[in-house]
């Protein structure tokens, strides 16, 4: 077994760590008490969440009329938020699945949290179409169930139904991928828990993981196959989301560029959200040795790439809209009409936050700075929200007939539900950060000898990673006993 890695690669685990140190570091945030900042963040998020739930109850109780929708703009904030949240989710699967296939070891420090973010973001996304139904208790009608309404079935020609299948497959597959990876780490917490209640909970969560050689062999194969399945899945999800628009006949939406452009935008926004979350989490949980400057830089490079694809897509859309010479195209979200029209502020927010600001990441100093990364990641989150808002609200505000032109004004309920989902998302993430092993410790242990700072330095000096065997190293040879500690 070779643990060699080229010395030019920066270490992924800093400091003089042993396998046991990794266990200690990852278990500490779970076993220790939460600090004051955690409680402040939690209560603010909880308040936002409750406010959002209040707005949802108000919407369901009164009707969709409490939103700012009108005869022309039949969906606006809800679908904007839906696409925004689904897009954010994409980075998690990209990190855990695509980077696994590419054998990128740096994913191991961030995949757990990125996947958690995926799952929590898809929860938020799923809320919006269900609320928009107006009668959420009938949400199961989207499923192809035999029913009593005459032989009325769902319509498999509709991209909205493709969405139902794509999102539910995506959510459930991400969930089992995440949970399967969590089993050995829950088992680690279980085996060191001292409080009986805690031990019971983690024993339940770990599904009785024991770590046999055969289990690990299957575990690795299952991870690889799941990554192989999740990779086309994640690309399909935002492709299908983009088809909600692309298969329509509205100028500005009816565009074959949408699928790749939406996927790139999703990864762009998802990585930005990972940066936002990890920027805070590495500090709060003292995991700076695992989520290093290099991890931040690598993610920034992905942001530059996907942001570049998005910028090229914008330029293409803008050019084609102008080149058609069609007057309708001047009302699409990327046109001179949009840049100078009533939604000029939304247009320029999109350009500034999504194209201009991320270019700062070309500068290595900024790319490796935690604080600048954090600020840019927030800017991208805002920019990507405006992208979806522009696509929906600007395009719909000016239809083919000038007599139907109407603008969208959000009500406090629109805003409240959006803020509520942000609160809900952070409530889930904060609870996760206190109760789950936030780094895939079993995986990090496999790369410690090849990518740990301590071992890398030693291998440069020519010291092998394998310790020298001494017979005197035996601590104890015990006679017959019944020390089957786990029963």
């Amino acid at each position: 077994m070779s643990h060699y890695e080229a010395p030019i690669r920066e270490p992924l685990v800093l400091g003089d760590k042993s396998y046991h140190d990794i266990t200690e570091d990852i278990a500490k945030p779970i076993e220790g008490a939460a600090n004051k900042n955690w409680y402040i963040a939690f209560y603010i998020s909880l308040a936002a969440m409750l406010w959002g739930f209040g707005c949802i109850f108000y919407t369901v109780g009164t009707g969709i009329g409490v939103w700012g929708l009108n005869k022309n703009i039949g969906w606006a904030w809800d679908i904007t938020n839906f696409v925004w949240w689904v897009g954010i989710g994409h980075a998690g699967t990209l990190i855990s699945a695509v980077l696994l296939l590419f054998r990128q070891k740096w994913r191991m420090a961030i995949n757990r949290s990125a996947e958690a973010m995926t799952i929590f973001a898809v929860f938020q996304a799923g809320l919006f179409p269900i609320i928009h139904m107006g009668r959420p208790w009938n949400a199961y009608w989207v499923l192809p169930l035999p029913n009593q309404f005459g032989s009325l079935w769902v319509n498999f020609n509709s991209p909205l139904l493709w969405d139902v299948f794509a999102i539910s497959t995506y959510l459930s597959v991400s969930l089992v991928f995440w949970w399967t990876g969590l089993l050995p780490d829950f088992a680690m917490i279980r085996d060191r828990a001292v409080k009986p209640f805690q031990k019971k909970i983690y024993a339940l969560l770990s599904f009785g993981w024991s770590g046999r050689a055969k289990d690990w062999q299957r575990f690795e194969e299952v991870s690889l196959v799941l990554a192989g399945l999740a990779t086309p899945l994640v690309l399909s999800v935002h492709t299908i989301v983009s088809m909600d628009f692309a298969t329509s006949i509205n100028p500005g939406w009816h565009s074959t560029i949408f699928p790749p452009y939406f996927v790139a935008g999703a990864i762009f926004s998802g990585f930005a959200m990972v940066q936002t979350l990890l920027g805070i989490m590495r500090k709060v949980t003292n995991l700076e040795d695992y989520i290093t400057r290099m991890h931040i830089e690598y993610m920034n490079i992905v942001i530059i790439l996907t942001g570049g694809i998005v910028a090229v897509a914008y330029a293409t859309e803008f050019f084609i809209a102008w080149y058609t010479g069609s007057p309708y195209e001047n009302y699409t979200y990327l046109s001179v009409g949009a840049a100078t029209g009533p939604y000029w502020w939304a247009f320029w927010s999109l350009i500034t936050f999504n194209i201009v600001i991320p270019q700062l990441l070309w500068i290595k100093k900024f790319r490796r700075s935690f604080i600048i990364t954090f600020i840019i990641s927030i800017a991208i989150n805002i920019g990507m929200w405006f992208e979806r808002f522009d696509i929906i609200a600007i395009v719909l505000s000016k239809g083919h007939l000038p007599s139907t032109w109407w603008r969208f004004e959000p009500t406090f309920v629109d805003v409240g539900i959006f803020i509520g989902t942000i609160g809900f998302f952070f409530v889930l993430f904060l609870l996760y950060a206190r109760t789950f092993p936030v780094i895939a410790q079993a995986e990090v242990k496999t790369i410690l000898k090849s990518s740990g700072e301590f071992y890398k330095k030693r291998s440069e000096q020519g010291i092998p990673t394998k310790p020298v065997i001494e017979v005197t190293s035996i601590a104890a040879i015990n006679g017959v006993s019944n020390n089957n500690k786990n029963g």
């Binding site: 077994m1 319509n155 085996d191 339940l204 024991s210 050689a213 299957r218 194969e221 310790p467 015990n478």
Partner: protein
């Protein structure tokens, strides 16, 4: 009962463990089980474990999902209640097939992923409320445990294992 007696040899390093497994195997002893805190590459080969067939099952589960999607779209859209939607009548499945590609893809992935994971959980006996079977809690932290059954060869085994870099050797009555 002599047959239920086993030796638990503990190691704290993956490379030492791998060499130890090879040494014990070379000396023609049966290794009952090895418990590890993380996957050790090459361990399954050293132990002589057969390759897992889970990927193959996933392929067949995927085929099942695809077939189910084809059957479902055909039954619902073509046979049971054909409708003319947007001037695109549902008279034949093959002509409508492009619109069903997303469903066919998603159900292929859905079946392959979930049924494979369920198979994995069943085969490795993992489910909620299942009790853990690792004999020592340190094996999920930083210790590797090799379990070898004893058949009147206690001294030979202990002598052999002591030379392989074990940090602790316990002789245990297994129930």
């Amino acid at each position: 009962m002599e047959a239920s007696k086993v030796i638990h040899a503990f190691y704290t390093d993956d490379e030492v463990l791998l060499d130890a497994v090879k040494t014990v195997k070379a000396d023609h002893h049966h290794i009952e089980e090895v418990f590890c805190p993380f996957p050790v590459h090459g361990l399954d080969k050293a132990l002589g474990l057969a390759p897992t067939k889970l990927a193959i099952t996933a392929f067949f589960y995927g085929i099942t999902g695809l077939s189910f999607a084809i059957w479902m779209t055909n039954y619902i859209m073509i046979e049971d209640w054909p409708m003319d939607i947007g001037g695109k009548p549902s008279f034949s499945w093959i002509e409508n097939m492009p619109a069903f590609v997303p469903i066919m893809f998603e159900l292929t992935v859905f079946f392959a992923a979930h049924l494979m994971v369920i198979t994995f959980y069943m085969r490795s006996r993992l489910w909620p409320f299942k009790d853990a079977e690792n004999p020592d809690p340190r094996t999920t932290d930083d210790h590797f445990l090799m379990e070898i059954p004893v058949n009147n060869n206690e001294e030979t085994l202990v002598a052999l294992l002591s030379k392989t870099g074990a940090v602790e050797i316990n002789i245990v009555d297994k129930h």
